[in-house]
Structure formats: C-alpha cells, structure tokens
C-alpha cells in the first residue's frame, strides 16, 4: 500500500488557509472602513469649522471683515491635540490667518469643499477649503476659507484600529483554525469508526460490514463487502476442493493397496511377491505424499484463519502416537511416550497441530532403523516443548534452517522416498501458533531430535 498524503492534514490545511485568507480580508476591510470613517470624521469636523468661519464673514462698507468664531477652532481641539491652521483669502488677497498655508488644489465652489493632504510646518495636515461669496449680489467677492489640521489624532486612531483589527483577525484565525481542526477530525470520525469495526473482526469473519456509514463511504464499503463476498466464495471453494481432492486421491489408493495385499497373499512365486511388495510400498508412499500435500494445503489455508480451540496437548499427543503405532510396529519401532496424564491446556487449531505432530513422528519412524526407539516428550517450561527423539541417521551436515523449506530434504536421505513437506508442515503450524521448530542432534547418542515449541 502506498500512503499518499492525509485527508485530515489536507482538510486542516485547506480550511486553515481559507481561514487565513478570510482573516486577512477581514483585517483589511476593517482597517480600510475604520480609517475611512476616522478620516471622514476629521473631514466633517474640518468642514464644519471652515463653514463656521465662512458663515461669520461679513461685508463691511464694501470690504470683507471676519469675526473669527471661538467655536470654529475650539471644536477642532475636542477630539485630539492636533495643531490647527487656517487662512482666509479674499479675492486672492490674504485677509487673516496663516498666509503661507498652501492654496487648495482646485478652486472650491459654494457647497462643495475641497479636501487636500500635504506637509505643512513639519507635519502632514488635512485641509479643507470652502468658498463663499460675500457682499451684495452686484458686487460680491469670493472668499476662500481654508482650515487645516495635523493628523496625529487620526494616526493614533488608525493605530488603535490597526491594533484592534490585528487582534480580531488573529483571534478569528486561531478560532477558525481550531474549528477546522475539529471539523477535520469530526469529518473523518466515521472512517476511524469503520476502521476500528473492521479491525476488530475475527480472522474468519467475512460478513459484510453493516456499521453506520456516511453516504460518501457507501461505495467504498459496498466494494469492500462485495470483495469479501467473493473472497468468502473463493475460500469456500478451496476448502471444498481440498476435501474433495483428499477424498478422491486417498480412497482409490486404499482400494488399490487392499487389492495388492490380497494379490500378494495369492501369489506363490517369490519374484512375483517381491514385485507386489514393491508396488504396495510405492502405493504407501503415494498415499503418504498425497496426504502430506493435502495436509500442507490445509495448513496454508487454515493458518490464515487460525482457530483458537481449547485443546489438551496430552490427548492430542496420545492420539497421534496411537495412530502411528501400527506403522511403527511394521519396523519394530517402540514409541516411548513421557508426558504423564495431567492435561496440558493449549489454545489452537487441533487439526493443524495433529497434522504437525503426525508429520514429525511419521518422519522419525521413516528415518529410524528397524528395532529402535523413538521417545516423545512434552516439557512445560517457559514454552511448551514437544520433542521427538529417534535413533536414525540424523540430518548429517544438512543446514538445519533449510530442511523446513518446502521440498527441501536432508543431505543424507539416501534411498528413502520423501516429499520434503513433513517438517515444512510442522514448521508452518508451529509458526501459525506463535512457536517454531528446533532440529538438533540426539544428545544421547545417534539420531536426531525434532522439537516443536509453542508459547504458553
């Protein structure tokens, strides 16, 4: 499986990115709006001041006179401690105020003041100019009143707004990020839930997933369920095939063998008897090999979905040994068992374990010389060790790690027919149960010791 990215991370980063963008947009909007408002406030106070001055202009015997209203300038000091400048110009001539104050950028008309921003006396100022005709209609003079104010108060306000906007923006971003983290987790919660539900299942549980599924995951779950159904069918077929094959191969072989034995008894010529004996031996080997191959197939299949039945290893060993006693008797081999009568409980697949033990013991019998002993013991220590020690030819110089590989046989098998599957089956069964196989030389003389150990 190739892991490519994480939905949670992608979701989180995308939502976080959106939140950052929105925060930034929010911050900029707030600032622009607030600064425009602050500037508009200053502009309106300036315009009110200039208008108040213009309103107090009067014509005095043809010349323009001004009684500067106190409130016109004092109102500018109510909001901030900004510097204030003003200039009154009567048809191009300075009447009063700061004569060096720059003229408006465009000539103001009555009712439409002109706003300007420029540097004056070391500070940036905002100025407004209003125009008002003074005097009778016949000989009116145009008077331009300019009022200017520095923008320190505006700057302070803007600073305050920026600070607030930054705080709000950052707070909004953090909140949105936290929420997007939560949203990503909550959106993915059904996946986690379903993963847990599927993981929790037992090895043989191939039932369709029925957990509550969000609409988006329904196709995936449907596909999974359909896949599992096919798997179930396929596994069932394999099982059937194995059973069928075992039945079909073993039964005819048994019939052939019986017929051969009957024939053997009827024959009188020694060379004919010998030929039949050879045949029976070949049939036995075939039956044995077929049995082992089917055992191996069964092990492979059953190990994938290992059963955990409550077993008693003593009963299992006794049964195994009892089953092989006739085979051993043919070669006058005594199987000496040493495991008492106290049950040794173990959880595992009885059929597999029996196949494993049977294969080891069968192997031991096969490689043991006639009239010898095989001892079978169970020792319960840190692990459960089931050992079969024979007095056969042993494994010679064989690499012990290789004899458990499929179809690999020992270096000194000589003329003995074998499939090379026996120890492989035992090893796979032991591994499936969390144990293993140890092969060593017999400590008490010639022969080999095969030990299957299982965890307690």
């Amino acid at each position: 499986m190739k892991v490519q990215g994480s939905i949670r991370r992608r979701l989180f980063f995308q939502l976080g990115g959106i939140a950052a963008l929105l925060s930034l947009a929010f911050f900029l909007t707030l600032r622009v709006v607030a600064e425009n408002t602050a500037e508009a406030t200053q502009d309106s106070i300036l315009a009110a001041s200039a208008t108040a001055i213009a309103d107090s202009l009067r014509s005095d015997n043809g010349s323009v006179s001004l009684e500067l209203p106190y409130s016109a300038l004092s109102m500018l000091g109510t909001v901030s401690e900004d510097r204030v400048f003003y200039h009154v110009v009567v048809s191009g001539n300075s009447l009063t105020g700061y004569a060096d104050l720059p003229p408006p950028s465009a000539p103001p008309r009555p009712g439409s003041p002109v706003f300007d921003t420029y540097d004056y006396r070391g500070d940036e100022v905002r100025s407004v100019s209003v125009m008002r005709p003074v005097g009778s209609a016949a000989q009116s003079t145009n008077v331009v009143v300019t009022v200017a104010q520095t923008r320190l108060g505006l700057e302070a306000t803007s600073q305050r707004i920026t600070t607030t906007a930054t705080g709000v923006g950052v707070g909004f971003f953090l909140l949105a990020t936290a929420l997007s983290l939560w949203a990503a987790s909550s959106a993915l919660a059904p996946i986690d839930r379903m993963t847990a539900a599927v993981t929790r299942r037992g090895p043989k549980d191939l039932r369709p997933v029925t957990a509550e599924t969000p609409a988006e995951l329904v196709p995936l779950v449907d596909a999974l369920n359909s896949f599992m159904a096919r798997l179930r069918t396929s596994l069932g077929r394999s099982e059937d095939f194995i059973a069928e094959a075992a039945h079909r191969v073993r039964t005819p072989l048994a019939t052939v063998r019986t017929q051969a034995e009957v024939t053997h008894r009827k024959l009188n010529k020694p060379e004919h008897k010998k030929a039949i004996r050879e045949m029976i031996r070949a049939i036995d080997e075939s039956a044995r090999s077929a049995g082992q191959m089917l055992d191996h197939a069964m092990v492979t299949f059953r190990a994938d979905s290992l059963a955990r039945d409550d077993l008693d290893l003593v009963v299992l060993m006794t049964e195994t040994c009892d089953r092989l006693v006739p085979t051993a008797d043919l070669k006058d081999i005594a199987i000496r068992t040493d495991f008492g009568n106290d049950p040794i409980p173990f959880q595992g697949d009885g059929i597999l374990l029996q196949a494993a033990l049977q294969n080891i013991l069968d192997n031991a019998i096969k490689y043991s010389p006639e009239d010898s002993n095989i001892s079978a013991t169970i020792k319960v220590g840190e692990t459960i060790r089931i050992s079969f020690t024979d007095q056969g030819r042993g494994f010679g110089d064989t690499d012990m790690s290789r004899v458990t590989t499929r179809y690999q046989r020992g270096a000194n098998v000589g003329d003995i027919v074998g499939s090379g599957l026996g120890l492989t089956i035992a090893d796979e069964v032991a591994r499936a149960h969390g144990g293993g196989i140890e092969i060593s030389h017999n400590n008490e003389g010639i022969g080999a010791c095969v030990c299957l150990y299982l965890p307690r």
């Binding site: 006179s65 001004l66 009684e67 500067l68 209203p69 106190y70 409130s71 016109a72 300038l73 004092s74 500018l76 000091g77 109510t78 401690e81 510097r83 204030v84 400048f85 009447l95 009063t96 105020g97 700061y98 006396r121 070391g122 500070d123």
Partner: protein, 342 residues
C-alpha cells in the same frame, strides 16, 4: 551681584542689536565647575522665580542657569520671529505659548506623564501653576464684608457711586499686557457682564496698568478703590507683607490661568529642560517653594472643590484671539468701552 550685572550688561552690549525683544531683567546662576548652561526665558519676575531656580540648581550639579525676564509678547517675538536660543520658555500667556506650539516652535517631551491631561497640551506645553484672576479692593473703600461678590454686584456698586470711584478703578492695559489680554478675552467669552463692566469702568476713567504689582500697590495705598483681573498669586504674596486690601475671588466665575513652560525648537540643552519641566510638575510636593515663590502648584482637587474656578482650556480655541482681525476688533471694542473720552 556683580557677576549677574556684568552678564546682563554683556548681553545688552554684545547681542543688543540682534535682540529686538526687551530684556527686563537677567541673572546668571553660575555653577562651579560649570558643565552645562541652561538658558531660560521667562515672564515671571526674578523675585518670584529665584527660589525655584536655586532649588532646581541644587538638584543639577554643574549647571549654570541663565534666567532672562521679558514680557509675554516679547517672549513670543523672541522665539517666533528672532529664533533666539533658549532652552526653556516660561510664560503666563497660555494663548501665546499655545500658538508657539501650534505653529511648530516647540519640541515634544513625552516624559512628563505626571501632569493631569488638562495641564498638558501635545506634550509640548506644560502647566505648572494655576493662578486665578481676582478682584483686589482697597480697605479704604470697602469694609470687611462689604465688597461685591459677583461682576453684576460690582457693576451695581460702580454705577451707584460714580463720584467715589471716578479715576479710582484700575485694570490691565490689554494692548500691552499679554496676561491682561488673555483674561479679557476669556471674560468676553464667559460673560456678557464683561463688556458692561468695561463700559462702566471706562465711564469712571479707569487707570490702565501694565502689571499686577503696580495695581496691587495702588489699591493697598488707597490710590485705587479696586483693581479688576489682578493676578491672584501676586496679590496673595503681596498680602503677606502689605496691608490695606482684600482679595476677592468673584463667585460667578474665576478665570484660572495656567503658567506654562515649553521647550523651543532652538533649545540646546534639552536634558536640562526636561529636568526643569519634571521639577516644575512636582512643585506641589515642595510647599516651601510654593510659599517662597507665591506660585500655586497644579492641584486638581482644588479646582474640583470650587466650581466657580474655570481653568482656561488648552487647545486651538486659544488661537482665536491671536487672530489679527479678531485681535484688532477686540481691541477696538475694548478701547471704545474703556477710553470713551479720549
């Protein structure tokens, strides 16, 4: 005294032509060894400020202080027009100081945070005293509890006894005194009674003065029956030594002038100026200096206790009466009221 005198002479001789403003008094407070020089231009008389300067110098070892006394208008002229180099300008004319700051002749000092907001403008103009404008009446004209308590009552008294007060009332000549102009203009904003009072005083052939000290002396001696808009702090310290007059804080309202300092752009020794502003803003912690100088320190509680006290507010409003047209009109009105037969 020889050294200050010599210095004054030297300044007058060597820099005389350059200085168009009139130096009334000058004293140098030398330090030995001298590490720095601190030049103050001020409208406060030497007698008033001497204890404060000595106390300040004691906190600043090695600082030679040059204290120059001039009139309020001259101070403005010296800094605005002549660009004279001073480290600190102390004036009783708030409007002129405000205009200097507004027009960009002052430096900011953000360290003086101790001042209440009404005593500080733009971190450029720093108030350190609050001095009411009072009515001073002579004991020869008014019995102990007989003096008028409001402007209306004052007008009533003057109208009722024109013969008695003919030529016996005094007030500032607002044409020459910045403080007088400031008080008169604030009066004209505050009360309609002001112009009536000026009319009445004009009819009584009021005497016009340049300075509070002269008015107080004339009232105390009985030459004047009363003087209007006298600087309360001077009157109070005069009363400590001179008898024969009462100080009346009128009950309708009392204009309170704030004596202020600012650091001109031309200042060389700004560190000393900062130190001096801090020192002055802590004047209320030095009752000895308040007593010695007669300058009442900033005291918000006192202003809140007496609701008739109206401290003049800083702000661009003070620029209005600085307007040349406004000033011309105001002075014309004032002259029309006060100088009726001239």
């Amino acid at each position: 005294m020889r050294l200050p005198l010599f210095a004054a002479l030297a300044v007058a001789l060597f820099s005389g032509p350059a200085l168009a403003f009139e130096i009334e008094e000058q004293r140098i407070y030398p330090a030995d060894p001298e590490r720095a020089v601190f030049k103050i231009i001020s409208t406060a008389d030497l007698g008033v400020f001497d204890p404060i300067i000595r106390a300040f110098q004691a906190t600043q070892p090695g600082l030679t202080i040059e204290y120059t006394v001039t009139g309020t208008t001259d101070l403005m002229h010296a800094i605005e027009v002549e660009g004279a180099s001073f480290d600190l300008a102390i004036s009783s004319a708030m409007d002129l100081q405000t205009k200097l700051a507004n027009d960009g002749y002052a430096q900011s000092y953000t360290g003086a945070a101790r001042l209440p907001s009404w005593a500080n403008w733009r971190n450029q103009v720093f108030a350190f005293t609050q001095e009411p404008a009072v009515l001073v009446v002579s004991d020869a004209f008014f019995a102990k509890d007989d003096a008028p308590r409001t402007r209306d009552a004052l007008i009533e008294v003057l109208r009722a006894n024109p013969d008695r007060f003919q030529g016996r009332v005094g007030t500032y000549d607002v044409r020459t005194s910045g403080f007088g102009y400031l008080m008169a203009t604030q009066d004209s904003r505050n009360s309609e009674a002001f112009w009536r009072l000026m009319e009445v005083m004009g009819r009584l052939d009021a005497k016009l003065y340049c300075c509070s000290g002269d008015m107080i002396r004339d009232v105390a001696s009985g030459k004047l029956g009363l003087a209007y808009n006298v600087l309360g702090s001077y009157a109070a310290s005069e009363l400590a030594t001179t008898k024969g007059f009462q100080i009346i804080e009128l009950e309708d309202y009392v204009n309170v002038m704030l004596r202020t300092s600012l650091i001109p752009n031309t200042a060389q020794n700004t560190q000393a100026a900062y130190a001096m502003i801090d020192f002055l803003s802590r004047l209320n912690q030095r009752p000895d200096l308040v007593t010695a100088s007669g300058l009442p320190a900033i005291d918000t509680a006192a202003l809140q206790a007496n609701s008739s006290l109206r401290p003049i507010r800083f702000g661009p409003g003070l620029l209005v009466f600085m307007d040349q047209l406004k000033r011309r009109n105001f002075l014309r009105n004032w002259e029309n009221s006060l100088l009726q037969d001239k």
